[in-house]
């Protein structure tokens, strides 16, 4: 559906996005996770055809999009920004904006609006103006305004950042209902990994503008000491044993699937063994895996285990847990 090829995007000379390839599949739900400033919002703006990349191409259904994207193409994609803004006028007028642009007839527009208003519980807000709404309500209206357009691609930048947990749940349920009724591609940028794991088919991690091979749990900035081979680096209160010839500032990562989880320390070849307590658990979208978050004395690590293993180990928030991984499992970027 949407694809970025060889994209390098700069702001004031600084490369903020560097992606060899990035695809948003036809009917998939893609989550882009990463820290603030990782390039998620820039990526979504390029995918929304609002900006052209400094270098590289954007393709829509295999065709290269011109640098000044035609409105006809932009109408097939829409983006809800992280801090969305409403136009002056009522909530209803805001919801109608994109439909008017598309010359949707009065009756059809009313039907579509009734649908999204119901789904996102906006009925009591319809005649309000933007200054009469909370941030969470603005976000909900903005999502509804985008959903009403029934675009082929829906891009959401931290859609639940201003919402409380209940409102975020309602938002994701509305999205799921809409996707069940009509297949379309969704791409959501989020730093809430649990949300991403819960509903996305595919998760991509961005770190400093590049796709990272591991999701951004267990991603740390470190200073590598001089010397070859095995090194010890400090991450907060814990010491990681790393195998690398690199020195100086670097990012190290441990894939959650590379972490071995047990209740007690067990003899093994793993050079990294940390004792801590489980702080949270999240079931993956497909239900096969469980992400176990644990506090290792001020540093949070995430390990992925099978649902079966989690049951056998009787893991619960608060239980004591030991994470082990080899020095070679620590990847250096």
């Amino acid at each position: 559906m949407l694809e970025l090829r060889g994209v390098r995007h700069r702001y004031q000379g600084r490369v903020v996005l560097d992606l060899e390839q990035f695809t948003v599949p036809h009917t998939g739900a893609t989550a882009v996770v990463g820290h603030n400033g990782a390039g998620k919002s820039t990526l979504l703006r390029l995918l929304a055809l609002l900006e052209a990349p400094t270098e590289g191409q954007v393709l829509f259904n295999g065709t290269v999009v011109p640098r000044r994207s035609p409105a006809s193409l932009r109408r097939r994609v829409t983006l809800v920004e992280q801090r969305p803004i409403l136009f002056r006028g009522t909530v209803r007028e805001n919801l109608e904006y994109g439909l008017r642009v598309r010359d949707v007839g009065r009756a059809a527009a009313n039907g579509i609006l009734a649908d999204v208003v119901e789904r996102l519980g906006l009925q009591p807000l319809l005649s309000r103006h933007r200054h009469e709404l909370s941030d969470g309500e603005v976000q909900r209206v903005a999502v509804a305004r985008a959903l009403a357009l029934r675009t082929d691609v829906l891009l959401l930048d931290e859609p639940a950042s201003s919402a409380d947990r209940a409102a975020a749940g309602a938002l994701y349920r509305a999205l799921a209902a809409e996707r069940a009724a009509r297949p379309f591609a969704v791409c959501i940028a989020s730093h809430q990994l649990e949300d991403a794991y819960r509903w996305a088919d595919d998760i991509r991690a961005l770190a400093e503008g590049r796709l990272s091979p591991v999701t951004p749990e267990n991603l740390f900035r470190v200073e590598l000491p001089a010397g070859d081979g095995v090194k010890t680096v400090h991450v907060g209160s814990i010491a990681l044993v790393v195998m690398t010839d690199r020195t100086g500032p670097a990012v190290v990562a441990v894939a959650p699937t590379d972490i071995f989880v047990s209740r007690e320390p067990i003899p093994s070849s793993a050079r990294n063994v940390f004792k801590g307590r489980v702080t949270g658990m999240a079931i993956e979208h497909r239900g096969a895996g469980v992400h176990v978050r644990a506090d290792m004395g001020g540093v949070e690590l995430v390990a992925a285990v099978t649902a079966e293993a989690a049951r056998d180990l009787a893991l619960n928030p608060g239980s004591a847990v030991v994470f082990s991984f080899k020095a070679t499992a620590v990847r250096v970027f």
């Binding site: 703006r45 609002l50 932009r74 920004e81 803004i85 002056r88 904006y97 642009v101």
Partner: protein, 231 residues
């Protein structure tokens, strides 16, 4: 003091009696000001939007030129235009020198930088998310511009008021290319200057008052327009 009081009395008398000369001059001034404001805003507002929203090579230089032009002396504009419109000038064939159209052209040249520079500033003051949101909801260039303009409506109304204020109070160019011809190119400002010089203080004052009233009425009208449908 008596002299001033006498001036006001005569001015009031002329206004109340509906003196044809006073009203003729006022009407011509209004016509010139409305046409010049409309033309300068029709060109200047889109130009301002373009300068504020498009990134192109030389944009900074263009903004500097427009901002510098804000301080262009009116007599210099009049002089240059005189050179262009005089019989030996490149636009002499138009036969516009000493006509109201020439005054309009001079006023447009003076009000255009105001319309462009101030509307660029007004558009730059609009949250950039408004433009992005309009675009991502599928709006084309014109609707996007209109959406941004709606958000900046107070500032843009002020731009129109400022352009009208410049045009209606302008004297240098009107004097040079209009020629201050009675019944044909005599505007309120040129008439005030003339009658003051001739010693007819009452008539000059009457015209000055009309000028003030005219400015007041237009400002009130714009404020009423701005006030419609707040939020």
């Amino acid at each position: 003091m008596d002299f001033l009081a006498e001036g006001f009395r005569r001015a009031w008398g002329l206004l109340v009696a509906g003196d044809s000369e006073v009203y003729g001059i006022a009407l011509l001034t209004l016509k010139v000001a409305v046409v010049a404001t409309a033309v300068s805003c029709a060109v200047g507002l889109p130009l301002g939007y373009f300068l504020a929203t498009r990134r192109f090579w030389g944009r900074r230089a263009a903004l500097t030129v427009v901002n510098t032009a804000l301080a262009f002396p009116t007599v210099v504009v009049g002089l240059l235009l005189y050179g262009l419109l005089s019989r030996r000038g490149p636009l002499g064939g138009l036969g516009w020198l000493y006509t109201w159209q020439a005054i309009v052209v001079g006023d447009v040249l003076l009000a255009l930088p105001i319309a462009a520079a101030l509307s660029a500033a007004a558009v730059q003051g609009v949250d950039p998310r408004i433009r992005r949101t309009a675009e991502t909801l599928g709006a084309g260039s014109w609707l996007t511009a209109w959406t941004v303009a709606r958000e900046a409506r107070f500032a843009l109304a002020a731009v129109i008021t400022a352009a009208f204020g410049q045009v209606v109070a302008e004297i240098g160019a009107a004097m040079i290319v209009g020629g201050n011809i009675r019944g044909s190119t005599r505007t309120l400002t040129t008439a005030v200057a003339l009658y003051t010089a001739q010693g007819d203080f009452g008539l000059a004052l009457a015209l000055g008052l009309v000028l003030l009233i005219l400015a007041l009425v237009v400002n009130i009208a714009l404020q009423v327009l701005q006030g419609r449908g707040h939020a």
